[in-house]
């Protein structure tokens, strides 16, 4: 997932540096029409069509001018990302449509566009532009306008929205964000893959529990520590009742299903119209979507975490 994101975000950056014929004034005019709510519906439709064609031309262009994206531009992108999006809790909302992310993202895109313009005009003013090849000249000339379009673009099929350009800090944020996946998978493996452990007769031995205790302790750092401890680490002298164990399993299963829900919420089909169901629905999705559980055992696993023993 990380590698796919890195490749696609880098492609997104390279879309802005190529030799596509570009009419900056025309693009600017159409973007103003789309942004202005007072203009009529037909004009907005036409402008959207024009802009989407522009984006398509950019994305289909086979030869980006990689030389144009020099160290200076990358460093500036990195700095702007850290200033606007990488600080505090903002990066935890990476690419979502919540206002915590969207508002700084607007600032980010404005800053990037103005910085690219500055870099180009600085190169022109101190004649550094004469030292580069013709392709790089063309690419740098229009990159700010292209970047503005690419960063603002919305409602185009199969195209990412409101994500920044690639730089090394983006990698760090993404990898921090995605580290939740292996952690959740480990939890699923521990608590859901073993439906038999839910029955009171099948208590793991002490040697088992020692091994699991160590793993549980590494997973269950705060805020998870507020939850009841797992049956694996309970004191063997005072066994819990069956329903108690089931309650504990249920709470862990709720925690586990969290690995799956970001994928559900971020999906476009689900969007705003679909209401999220109960917590049980989350568990069902997590169990059925989990790649490690065999299809035959999914139902057992579901029974183990959701049905109380007396109802079985």
């Amino acid at each position: 997932m990380l590698s796919a994101l890195v490749v696609s975000l880098e492609n997104r950056l390279q879309m802005c540096f190529n030799t596509v014929e570009w009419n900056a004034a025309e693009v600017e005019r159409h973007m103003q029409i789309v942004g202005n709510s007072a203009s009529n519906a037909q004009a907005i439709e036409d402008s959207k069509f024009y802009l989407s064609q522009c984006v398509e031309r950019l994305s289909l262009h086979p030869n980006p001018v990689k030389e144009a994206i020099n160290d200076e531009i990358r460093m500036e992108l990195d700095t702007i990302y850290i200033e606007k999006l990488g600080k505090g809790d903002i990066w935890k909302y990476f690419g979502t449509s919540s206002s915590t992310w969207i508002d700084p993202y607007e600032e980010y895109s404005e800053n990037v566009v103005s910085k690219l313009e500055d870099i180009y005009s600085a190169m022109v003013s101190d004649d550094r532009i004469e030292n580069v090849t013709d392709n790089v000249k063309i690419a740098l000339k229009n990159c700010a306008s292209k970047a503005k379009l690419v960063l603002k673009v919305q409602d185009i099929h199969m195209y990412p929205e409101s994500v920044p350009f690639m730089s090394s800090s983006v990698w760090v944020s993404l990898s921090q964000q995605l580290k939740r996946i292996p952690k959740s998978l480990l939890e699923v493996r521990l608590y859901c893959m073993r439906p038999s452990t839910c029955q009171t007769t099948d208590i793991p031995t002490l040697s088992h529990s020692r091994r699991y205790r160590r793993r549980c302790d590494t997973i269950c750092r705060p805020p998870h520590r507020a939850l009841p401890r797992s049956p694996f680490v309970r004191d063997l002298g005072r066994p819990h009742s069956a329903s108690r164990i089931c309650t504990i399993h249920l709470s862990y299963a709720l925690q586990i299903s969290a690995w799956y829900s970001p994928l559900v919420y971020n999906h476009k089909i689900v969007g705003g119209t679909w209401k999220i169901g109960s917590a049980t629905a989350e568990i069902v999705r997590a169990l059925y979507g989990h790649p490690d559980i065999k299809a035959d055992h999914v139902h057992d696993a579901f029974n183990a975490v959701s049905v109380y023993p007396e109802h079985r």
Partner: protein
């Protein structure tokens, strides 16, 4: 000189090693399928990690993205440590859904 030879031997870091090896293979027209270390050179560190990384198809794609460019931004940044690369790319979140999400047809995902 012979007794002091250790002082003059050049030790290559793992990061240099992976960049060097990737660029060499790219120049020779090889891909991740051809990756193998034939003879272990004494100056190379972490040859096993480099080999495992470059044998993954998705790591190859990432390398093409972040190494095979004129800029040295990524190579000189904090993300480009051999331990970080191994942790990030070879774990479940690194490459597990690369092929499904790029729309390529392949039966097995590489975890």
């Amino acid at each position: 000189m012979s007794t002091n030879q250790r002082l003059y031997t050049y030790a290559e870091t793992a990061e240099e090693g992976i960049v060097q090896m990737f660029k060499m293979m790219k120049f020779n027209g090889e891909t991740w399928r051809d990756c193998q270390i034939k003879a272990r050179s004494r100056s190379q560190s972490h040859p096993q990690k480099i080999r495992v990384l470059l044998q993954q198809d998705f790591v190859w794609k990432v390398m093409e993205t972040i190494v095979d460019i004129p800029s040295t931004h990524y190579i000189h940044s904090d993300i480009f440590k051999i331990s970080m690369l191994t942790q990030d790319l070879l774990s479940e979140h690194g490459g597990v859904s690369f092929w499904p999400s790029t729309g390529s047809t392949r039966n097995k995902c590489s975890v």
